[in-house]
Symmetry: C2
Subunit: 332 residues, 2 copies
């Protein structure tokens, strides 16, 4: 924790001046009286204050806030993530504050929004196009598979390629041959689509998918599934890129009078709280959001602790199949 080392406040106290004055001295300002400058420099030496922390210390007193950037509150995949982030971080005195991209698109990107609340750390759980790391960015961890993921960024994600393979394989094992994929345009969505295509081809089956590249919203799942099922009545199984779009697909099936799972099998991805409800009872892939949150939090803590050894850059967790009520053998 930052408390284990002297801050600009300690320097100011020791020098008997204000924090503002210390900042001026650190910036090499000429607007400072000789006596104060001397006092500050003595204090810095005495406390072994490390100037490399100056910038962030000037920016703000530690807030103990961790900003969590997500896409959209109506896609509940993030709920387990936040719960397990909190399970690790709140006992350490940190608090979570969530910013979504959907409601902060007024010109400012989510990173700017996050920085304006001066978090000690950031969990990036959304796709950020043209993501570049500002100098002032505090330690951050990318959670989930993202479009803009550099090998230099600390990240934790489930293996979306493997998860999509498990989902597609499950439908194939149930005897389905006309399997469609409902894709979305997110980083995870891309990986899941690639894996669906590869797995289908590996089994000598023709991959069928929609062209939608927008966000994972229920209504898109509904309209895309409706169009796809009307155009391809031979389809007996759908692998939906997310639980929320799978719920849309379930609505489309109901609309078309198709019984799930008797006439149509549907498998989602994320194992959201909604998939777990008795009403929806969705067969899905557990994206291990709890594990992702847990590991992302530990990773962030070690980055926030200057004494801690350097952690691994990239962490990949295993997804798993959750069998519920929406998949059945072909013609079953």
């Amino acid at each position: 924790m930052s408390t284990s080392r002297p801050t600009i406040y300690d320097v100011a106290k020791a020098a008997g001046v204000s924090k503002s004055l210390v900042s001026l001295v650190l910036r090499g300002s000429t607007n400072v009286s000789k006596e104060s400058e001397a006092a500050v420099k003595t204090a810095i030496k005495k406390l072994n204050y490390q100037p490399n922390r100056a910038a962030s210390d000037l920016a703000a007193k530690r807030t103990q806030l961790i900003a969590v950037l997500i896409d959209d509150y109506s896609n509940p995949w993030f709920i387990d993530l936040i719960q397990s982030l909190s399970d690790v971080l709140t006992p350490k005195g940190y608090r979570l504050s969530v910013i979504d991209s959907l409601t902060s698109q007024a010109g400012t990107d989510p990173i700017t929004s996050a920085l304006s609340m001066r978090p000690d750390g950031i969990i990036i759980a959304q796709d950020i196009p043209d993501f570049t790391v500002p100098d002032s960015l505090p330690p951050f961890v990318i959670a989930g598979t993202r479009i803009t993921q550099a090998s230099t960024h600390y990240s934790v994600a489930n293996d979306d390629f493997r998860g999509a393979e498990i989902a597609t394989k499950h439908l194939i094992d149930l005897g389905h041959t006309h399997i469609a994929h409902l894709r979305v345009g997110s980083g995870a969505g891309m990986r899941r689509f690639e894996s669906f295509e590869a797995t289908m081809r590996a089994h000598g089956l023709e991959p069928l998918a929609n062209d939608y590249l927008g966000p994972a919203i229920e209504h898109a799942g509904y309209t895309e599934a409706l169009a796809l099922l009307k155009e391809h009545p031979e389809v007996t199984a759908i692998f939906s890129s997310n639980d929320i779009t799978a719920i849309g697909a379930l609505g489309a099936a109901r609309e078309l009078g198709l019984r799930v799972p008797e006439d149509l099998s549907i498998i989602g991805y994320d194992n959201t709280p909604l998939a777990q409800t008795r009403l929806i009872n969705l067969t899905t892939i557990d994206d291990n959001s709890i594990g992702v949150g847990y590991n992302a939090a530990l990773l962030l803590l070690s980055m926030l602790d200057p004494q801690a050894p350097h952690p691994e850059i990239m962490h990949t967790l295993q997804p798993s199949l959750i069998e519920r009520g929406t998949c059945a053998p072909r013609g079953g």
Copy 2:
């Protein structure tokens, strides 16, 4: 808005010095060179910079952040609220940051969590037991009907008593006489329960309700509805205190082999995005979250503008019935 008047940054710019130096001059520090002091004082006069803002400007650069306090991400009633808060506030340069009580219960109350990110304003959209206003609290608006609501607090809510009356009356008008209410322990939940009882009695009907006083979560709706329907097979209609608990009730009906709406009518409250999905297609009461968010945002803006006239303390909006697929005439 704070942008409509000169800030300490404008003064620093005009004087060709740093913000830190301006703060020192404002504090009457003796550690500042005569020339810089003169430059700053000239700039202050020229810009007609108002020192009464100095304190807050020193404390922190305006964060342009609005903290939104909610209960639980898995109850999606807040999504419309946040969207309309954002529709009003982001064009004004504000950003929303959400804090939920479920994941910040590590000793610290949500208000403390909110203050640590230095918001310019706060929207309180959750029940806070023993809520007291700290001196340091920025302008805040209570959104929704809350347990701890003082007549001195600015607030915007839909008329939950009226909404519950509409819901109960709708089931009565459909010919149902054995109507059960699934209650929850929130401020809004209390009002809706009171109104259900009053409306039933006003129509000479015996109100039946569960004893649950916990939070509005889907699983509670499921278990409570399951127990209630097993104990009272005569029940043909359920008014659920929220959409999310209604989804639990729909799961219980499925579990018991009851067809909705043929065997059992279910009406929710909130008109959440989930209620609007083709799959769930829930008849519900629109709690006017969009209107609540819109008015709460305007209220907050006028509180943030010292020039604005004092707004009304309490705003109550009308709820409305949204008929979908989960209610039908008794025995229909």
